[in-house]
Symmetry: C2
Subunit: 132 residues, 2 copies
Amino acid sequence: MSDRDPIPLSEQLRRGNLFAEACPSREVLRHVTSRWGVLVLMALQDGTLRFSDLRRKVAGVSEKMLAQTLQGLEADGFVLRRAYPVVPPHVDYSLTPLGVEVAVRVAGLADWIETNLPRILEARPEADAVSA
Amino acid sequence: MSDRDPIPLSEQLRRGNLFAEACPSREVLRHVTSRWGVLVLMALQDGTLRFSDLRRKVAGVSEKMLAQTLQGLEADGFVLRRAYPVVPPHVDYSLTPLGVEVAVRVAGLADWIETNLPRILEARPEADAVSA
């Protein structure tokens, strides 16, 4: 499954290589797996949301960090930002088809963590993260 | 998947909830999706590695960051650190069964990004990341 070492050059040019320091795939990975990127992608899986709704859903994110996260995901073509010329201004965000695809993978990881959290907490040497 | 005895915690901790600000699943997600966490999990999918081998494989990581990343993954029970009482000292790292499971999900996301990198770069408004 993971025989990653001998990747031919032609293959490297056709696809990204996260183990290569200069590969742009690393930047994409950073956006997608950033502290808030994961949660924004998951929140948008349910449909289009306005900035304020997103911020409420992704509890704990600051306005600045949410804006920055959305900009990164927009730059990678995962999120579509739509501004409507109305008063007061109306801006909303949704996943692009590419964003839907990546969100599925992100949600797969997130779901696994949520489901297996009890096992993970049990496996911790010090269980103080659990105790109040 | 793993229906173990429920830990005597509040209802919401029986299963993690990444959208809840105080849920410990957020910390686990941070370790697993950290800049280097992803690459370390993927590197260890191929088998046990020593620190220096890991560092070579995960190009660009500093000693300090690699040590910190491994500590986080060890604390969550994903990585097993083994120190052999020999001279010179021999320490190696491998995935635990829990680590194997999470690495599969992480690799699913990483593979998608690597495979779809050309589409992502094309989708970028400014395609300067592509040009040399």
